[in-house]
C-alpha cells in the first residue's frame, strides 16, 4: 500500500482533481485503498461565464473535462467547485501585491495554504468528508510527518511545507512513494486518458507564461533606475521594478557593461525608491536568512537552535543550516552561502532521514 493512504480505511475523502495525471492516479489509489472517494475539480478562473463562449479559459475547460473523464473511469461522483473568488483574492491579488512590494511570491504554495488545504478542506469537512487527497509528490505517513517524495525531481514537499499539522492530519498524498514515470505507467494501466498529458510548469493563471506582461498589465508602467551596487551609478532604466527577481540576470537591458566585464545580477529591489540594484554574482551570496510566520510541521516549536537542511526556493539547492526561533520569526545561519535568495519565497527546513527527509517547518523569507 503506498504511503499516504495507509490511514483508516473506509473514510470519506475528497479528491482534488486538476485534470492532470497525478491527481487522477492519486484518486484511483484512494479508491483502491477502500475509501469512499468523491472527485472535485476546482474552477479557479475569475469569470466562469467566459467558459460558455469558449473565448477564454479553454485550457481550464479542457482540464475540467479531463478530470471529469478520469472520475468517470474510476466510477466516483464528480463535481466542480467554484473557488474563483477566493483564488483571485488569496492567490492572484496576493501575487501581484507581493511583486509590487518587491518580493517574489510562490503562488502554488499560497494556493495550497489558502485554497486547497484551507477553503476546500474546510468545505469538505463541513460537508462530512474526513480528508482531502491530492496528487502532490510528497510522503505523508501514519506518523503525521511530511517527507520528500522518492522522486526528488518531482518532490513538492517544499510547497506543502506551509501546511500545519492540523491540515496535514486531514490530507492524503498517495503518490509520495512513486516516481513520475511510475505514476504515468499506472495511469496507462488503469486506462486513464491523461496518462501522457504534459506536466504543467507555468503559473496556472498566467496562461501565456509571460509573468512580466501579466504584472505590467495590472501594475502599469513605473519607470525607474537600475543602479550599480558598488558605485551607486545609474546603469540602466527599467519600466517597473516589480518585474524583477533577486538573482535575475537576463533581461536587465543595461546601458553599459560592468567595468570588470562580468555579468551582473539583480541584488535587491527597493519599491520605495522604485530602484533595482545590480551587482556581480558573488554579491548575491547570502549566509543568513530572516523569515516570518513560521509553521512548525515536524514537531513542536524548537526551544533551542536546530541543525538541519534548508531549501530557499522551489527546486532550489539544499544547504545545511542552523535554524533558531526569534520572537515571532526565525533566523537561519547557512553553513554555505546561497545565491538568489528572494524575499517572499519560503524557507523550508528539513531533517535528513533515510526514509525521506522530514519537513520540520517553513516560513516566509523576509530578508
Amino acid at each position: 500500500m503506498p504511503d499516504g493512504v495507509g490511514k483508516v480505511v473506509g473514510v470519506r475523502v475528497l479528491a482534488a482533481m486538476s485534470g492532470g495525471v497525478d491527481s487522477a492516479v492519486a484518486a484511483a489509489r484512494a479508491v483502491e485503498a477502500g475509501h469512499d472517494v468523491t472527485g472535485v475539480h476546482l474552477a479557479l478562473a475569475r469569470n466562469p461565464q467566459t467558459y460558455r463562449t469558449g473565448a477564454r479559459g479553454c485550457c481550464t475547460l479542457e482540464d475540467s473535462r479531463d478530470a471529469r473523464r478520469a472520475a468517470d473511469v474510476l466510477g466516483i461522483p464528480f463535481y466542480v467547485w467554484d473557488m474563483a473568488e477566493r483564488f483571485q483574492a488569496d492567490v492572484v491579488d496576493d501575487f501581484v501585491a507581493e511583486y509590487a512590494a518587491g518580493r517574489t511570491p510562490n503562488p502554488c504554495l499560497r494556493c495550497n495554504e489558502k485554497i486547497k488545504f484551507a477553503a476546500v478542506l474546510d468545505r469538505a469537512v463541513a460537508l462530512g468528508f474526513d480528508a482531502v487527497v491530492t496528487g502532490h509528490h510528497a510522503r505523508l505517513g501514519a506518523d503525521g510527518l511530511l517527507r520528500r517524495s522518492v522522486d526528488l525531481a518531482k518532490d513538492q514537499s517544499y510547497v506543502l511545507g506551509v501546511l500545519t499539522r492540523e491540515q496535514l492530519s486531514r490530507s492524503m498524498f498517495p503518490l509520495g512513494d512513486s516516481t513520475k514515470p511510475q505514476v504515468r505507467a499506472e495511469a496507462t494501466r488503469r486506462g486513464l486518458a491523461v496518462a501522457d498529458k504534459p506536466d504543467s510548469h507555468d503559473i496556472c493563471f498566467v496562461a501565456d507564461g509571460d509573468t512580466r506582461g501579466f504584472l505590467a498589465q495590472r501594475l502599469g508602467a513605473a519607470p525607474g533606475d537600475v543602479v550599480d551596487a558598488a558605485t551607486g551609478e545609474v546603469v540602466g532604466r527599467h519600466t517597473g521594478a516589480y518585474a524583477y527577481t533577486v538573482g535575475q540576470r537576463r533581461g536587465l537591458h543595461l546601458d553599459r557593461p560592468a567595468p570588470d566585464g562580468r555579468p551582473r545580477y539583480v541584488l535587491s529591489i527597493t519599491p520605495k525608491t522604485n530602484t533595482v540594484t545590480v551587482g556581480p554574482a558573488e554579491a548575491l551570496a547570502v549566509s543568513q536568512v530572516q523569515a516570518r510566520r513560521p509553521v512548525w510541521t515536524g514537531g513542536p516549536r524548537p526551544a533551542a537552535p536546530v541543525e538541519c537542511e534548508v531549501q530557499l526556493r522551489a527546486h532550489g539547492d539544499v544547504v545545511p543550516a542552523t535554524v533558531a526561533v526569534t520572537g515571532d520569526g526565525l533566523r537561519a545561519e547557512l553553513h554555505q552561502p546561497v545565491r538568489g535568495v528572494a524575499a517572499g519565497q519560503a524557507i523550508v527546513a528539513y531533517r535528513p532521514d533515510p526514509a525521506g527527509d522530514v519537513v520540520l517547518g517553513s516560513a516566509t523569507i523576509a530578508a
Partner: protein, 391 residues
C-alpha cells in the same frame, strides 16, 4: 435510488421503447423511392399525423428535428431571418427573462451576429410574463418586431405562462409568437391551434420518448429560413435523413403522454404536493419558488436559505437522490439561476435553490427517501455555507 430529476430527462415509456426497437430493425431511408423507403416514409408520416393530432395541429405543421434545442434555434433564428428578409425594418426580437438557454443564447446570438435588438420581458415574483408587458412592448413598434418567443412553462421553477393571452396580444399586432413547450407537453393541456401561437417546440425525452428527436410545430403561414441545408427533407425546412425509429418512438410517447395527461397530472400533482408539504415540515425555512397554483404537476423548486444548492446536490447524490441545481456552465460550475434572479431573488437565494421534479415513474417511496435525507443534508450544507459567509 430516488430519481427526482424528470425535468432533465424522464425514462422512456415501454411502448415507445418497443416501437423504437421494432422500427430500428427495419431498413429504409424515408426519402428513398423503393419499397423499403416507402415503408419508412409511411411510418414517419403516420407519426407526423399522431403528433399533429395529439397537439391540435395539422400534419403539415409538424417539422421533425433533432430535439428541443434545434427546434428553438430554428424557430427563433429561422423566423427572424425570414421576416427580416421580407421587411428590413423587422430587426427586433421580444423574449422573456426566464427562457431556457436554447432560446436565450439563440436570441443573444442574433443580437451579436445579426444586429438584432432584443427586448426581454420582465417577470413577476412568481416568474410570470404578463400580457400587459407584451402589449406595451408591441404597442410602441410592432412593425419592427420579427419574432416573439416566450416559453409555455418554466423548466426551472415550473411556472405555467398565460400563453394563449400572450399569443392573442401577438396576433393583435400581427407578430408571430414562438413558445418553447418542452416542459409542458404531457404535463398540462397543450393545443397548438387553440393556443394561437405560431410556432411551438416539443421534444421526445421529456415525455417518455428518446433524446435527440423532437419537433417544431409551425403554422403554415409563417415563413422560416432553414438552419440546415441538404437533401430538402421536411418541406426543405430541415434537411437530414429522417430518424425513422426515433420519430416513431417520439410520436408514440407523445401520443401516450397526451392521452394520459389528466390522470398523470392528478397523480403527480398529489405526490408533488405531498413532497412540498413534507419538505416544509422538515426544513421550515425552505421557500417554494414559482407559482404555487399555475405550475407544472411534477415541479417542486425550493430555496434553502444559508445553503448552497451545489452542496445540497452533492450530499443528496451521496444518498442516492438525484435532483438539480439548474444550469451549470460548460466547465461544470453551478451558476446562479437567471430565472430566480429575474424573479427578484438575490444571488445568495438563487444559489441556494434546488429543483425536484417528479414524473411517470415517481413513487411515494422516492419522496420518503428525500425527506429522510434532507434534514442532515441541509444541516451540513449550512455549515459549509457559513464558511463562505463568515469570510
Amino acid at each position: 435510488m430516488a430519481y427526482l430529476d424528470h425535468a432533465a430527462t424522464t425514462p422512456m415509456l415501454d411502448v415507445a421503447l418497443a416501437a423504437y426497437v421494432d422500427t430500428a430493425r427495419e431498413v429504409g431511408n424515408a426519402s428513398a423511392l423503393h419499397g423499403a423507403g416507402r415503408q419508412a416514409r409511411r411510418r414517419v408520416e403516420e407519426s407526423r399525423e399522431r403528433v399533429a393530432a395529439a397537439l391540435g395541429a395539422r400534419p403539415a405543421e409538424v417539422i421533425f428535428t433533432g430535439g428541443g434545442t434545434e427546434s428553438d434555434n430554428l424557430a427563433v433564428k429561422g423566423i427572424f431571418w425570414a421576416r427580416r428578409s421580407a421587411d428590413r425594418r423587422r430587426t427586433r426580437v421580444v423574449s422573456s427573462a426566464v427562457e431556457h438557454h436554447a432560446v436565450l443564447d439563440a436570441v443573444d446570438w442574433l443580437a451579436a451576429q445579426e444586429g438584432a435588438e432584443v427586448s426581454s420581458l420582465p417577470v413577476d415574483a412568481l416568474g410570470r410574463v404578463t400580457p400587459q408587458r407584451l402589449h406595451a412592448e408591441l404597442a410602441a413598434a410592432a412593425d419592427q418586431v420579427a419574432v416573439i418567443t416566450t416559453m409555455w412553462a418554466s423548466n426551472e421553477v415550473g411556472t405555467v405562462q398565460p400563453v394563449a393571452e400572450l399569443a392573442a396580444v401577438a396576433a393583435e399586432h400581427g407578430v408571430p409568437l414562438h413558445t418553447d413547450a418542452i416542459q409542458a407537453v404531457g404535463q398540462v393541456v397543450v393545443d397548438f391551434a387553440a393556443s394561437g401561437v405560431s410556432a411551438l417546440t416539443v421534444t421526445g425525452h421529456k415525455l417518455g420518448g428518446p433524446a435527440g428527436v423532437g419537433a417544431l410545430v409551425l403554422a403554415r403561414d409563417v415563413a422560416v429560413t432553414p438552419l440546415l441545408h441538404g437533401g430538402g427533407q421536411e418541406r426543405d425546412v430541415r434537411s437530414g435523413t429522417l430518424d425513422t425509429a426515433g420519430i416513431v418512438a417520439f410520436a408514440v410517447a407523445l401520443e401516450t403522454a397526451v392521452r394520459h395527461q389528466q390522470e398523470y397530472a392528478a397523480r403527480v400533482t398529489a405526490l408533488r404536493d405531498d413532497l412540498v408539504t413534507r419538505v416544509r415540515q422538515a426544513v421550515p425555512e425552505a421557500v417554494l419558488n414559482g407559482d404555487p397554483n399555475d405550475r407544472l404537476p411534477g415541479n417542486a423548486h425550493f430555496s434553502f436559505p444559508g445553503c448552497e444548492g451545489d452542496a445540497l446536490l452533492l450530499l443528496l447524490d451521496a444518498q442516492g437522490i438525484a435532483c438539480s441545481t439548474g444550469s451549470a456552465c460548460s466547465a461544470g460550475v453551478a451558476q446562479p439561476s437567471h430565472v430566480l434572479l429575474a424573479m427578484g431573488a438575490d444571488s445568495a437565494r438563487a444559489r441556494s435553490s434546488l429543483r425536484f421534479t417528479l414524473g411517470h415513474t415517481s413513487t411515494p417511496e422516492e419522496v420518503d427517501a428525500l425527506i429522510a435525507a434532507l434534514p442532515e443534508a441541509v444541516d451540513r450544507a449550512r455549515r459549509a455555507g457559513s464558511l463562505r459567509a463568515s469570510r
